[in-house]
């Protein structure tokens, strides 16, 4: 069964929705759009991180990178001190460029420096967090120009959701319909065979890391556009959420396998857990356990599938 994982995720999404509807019968129509919108940053970055994981690498620096880029966007475009009031479109361009370059740098560390990606990005996770705090100096950045805010709010059309959908479609096209996508899977599936087939592993990996940087920059822009506020904690912990979504979505951590559809469903599932729990009458005591409940659910999502998968493939490894 090709889409078994996707099927079970869909079932979980439906079950959670039904559960929430016990408490609020119009849960789905009321919240569907908001859940999708709230999942946007995770979704966009997950598209990049998924490709990185498909090549057999990992990127856990995206949370800090998003924070750094959001801070940078803030400093450039904010209309009051310490902002520079740069034209928002120019600021966006700069942030996208910087994001791509940092992603490319990560790729270089991994490809040419031969630093294991989990270590390279762990180092960046720590260091970029410091750079973000240092850039911000102390204090939230607010007062963004309306042109920028319009990307996240303010108009009737959810521009950010459209951008996210375009990113997902683009990634889907890349995976299914473009030579690059096939090669990304090929590199993750069998690196030595890919080399023999004339595929440059270095080029592919640089591409996916740079793309992840670019998408993280995009997510940072939409984040700022929606929340209109950058703080030193912006982006903290996002990398874990993204990686969780990608693996819950069925992407194999050893590379080569996984569908975007699964990741999309996983992002929806993990984003909606919070809202569903918010709609259930947890009471003042139970609400303190919310994070623990989320943790248990993620553990179940990660492992339950493994029980069934093991049965299916039998002992042959």
């Amino acid at each position: 069964m090709k889409f078994r994982r996707e099927g079970s995720l869909l079932v979980l999404v439906v079950l959670l929705s039904l559960l929430a509807m016990l408490f609020d019968s119009s849960f789905v129509p009321d919240n569907a759009l908001d859940i999708l919108i709230n999942g946007i940053p995770t979704m966009i970055i997950a598209c990049g991180v998924m490709l990185v994981i498909v090549t057999g690498e990992i990127d856990i620096s995206v949370g800090s990178l998003l924070g750094l880029l959001a801070a940078m966007l803030g400093l450039l475009s904010s209309t009051v001190s310490p902002g520079l009031s740069v034209h928002p479109y120019l600021a966006i361009l700069i942030v996208l460029t910087v994001g791509t370059l940092i992603g490319l740098g990560t790729g270089c560390l991994v490809v040419f420096g031969k630093v294991p990606s989990i270590i390279a990005t762990l180092g960046l996770l720590i260091a970029l967090d410091g750079v973000q705090d240092w850039l911000m100096g102390g204090g939230d950045i607010k007062h963004f120009p309306q042109q920028l805010r319009n990307l996240g709010t303010g108009t009737r059309i959810p521009v950010n959701l459209i951008i996210a959908v375009l990113v997902v479609i683009g990634t889907g096209l890349l995976c299914r319909k473009m030579a690059m996508g096939r090669r990304i899977y090929a590199v993750g599936s069998n690196p030595s065979a890919a080399r023999v087939a004339g595929i440059s592993e270095a080029k592919i990996k640089l591409f996916v890391f740079a793309l992840t940087g670019l998408l993280t920059a995009l997510a940072a822009i939409l984040w700022v556009a929606k929340l209109g506020n950058v703080s030193t904690s912006t982006g903290a912990g996002l990398e874990l959420k993204v990686v969780t979504c990608v693996v819950v979505g069925g992407v194999a951590i050893r590379g080569g396998r996984g569908h975007l559809l699964g990741v999309v469903l996983a992002v929806i599932l993990i984003t909606m857990i919070r809202t569903v729990l918010n709609f259930m009458d947890l009471g003042s005591e139970a609400v303190k356990w919310q994070r623990a409940i989320e943790g248990v659910m993620i553990l179940v999502a990660v492992t339950s599938d493994h029980f069934t998968q093991q049965q299916q493939t039998g002992g042959s490894a």
């Binding site: 560390l109 630093v115 294991p116 762990l122 260091a127 410091g130 993620i298 553990l299």
Partner: protein, 310 residues
Amino acid sequence: MKKFAYEFVLLGLIGVVLASAAILDPLFLSQNVQLELSSEIWELGLLTLGMTLIIITAGIDLSVGSAMGLCSVSLGLCMHANLPAWLCGLVCLLTGLAAGAINGTLVAFIKVHPLLVTLATYGMYRGFAEGLQSATTNAPVDASDGIKSIVTGGFPVIPVLFTALAVWTAILLRRTAAGRGLYAIGHNEEAARFSGIPVARLKFLIYTYTGLLAALAAICYSARRSATAEAGMVLELDVISAVVVGGTSIYGGRGRLIGTLLGVLLIHETRQFVDWYWQRSELTLIVIGTLLILAVLGHRFLFSRNPQTQ
């Protein structure tokens, strides 16, 4: 001598940090200051002992810091209930054992990738720690006199315990069948299994051992600060950094405990000195992150084997 080349590099780096300290602020090197600052090294050190074993098997444990928080809260609950110190300690150790055993079971027997397991338990253990604390005492609990005496008593319990565990772990790695098995698992799990090495059991044991170490670290922490769900927050990053800086390969199969200990020392001294001298929390982050990347780059650059020379 050649065998320990990287360890000499680490020693050199520690030397550089200390030399910079000597030039910039000699007070940092005074015995009193070093002794006082060392109180933070033990928790880091304890956790790296287990993490080294895990990374040698090509695994990883992201949940150590969270497990430590959970253990600290369980200790706090017991102290809050005025239980005798030994019982508090026992409950704490059992909590750690259970946390480690959950990781171990899922990794070793259910065969879920350790990154996935501990990514999930990382959030889960911390969630339970916070939930437990806010649902019961709703505040950190001061260490009871019994627990406190671990640090205040005349005998240096923690350093001695740590040294003993470190020596034991080093012997385990280098001089026992289990240690040889761990390296074999790290290099090639399938071949290790085909050689009759009890792969699943060994893996289960090292994750459980790490859980136990998290409990010990929680006791150390709670004795000198207080029992709180905050214990061990983001410590996993330092733990993994120290092990990797110490020359253990994240791909498994390579690494020595002496390297890890030097890695702990390097990370500790660097962090303390940057904090001490520049007084900029964010600068410390930048320096530690960069150090981690440079150390691994340096290790690759200096010691990567060139297949053509074979």
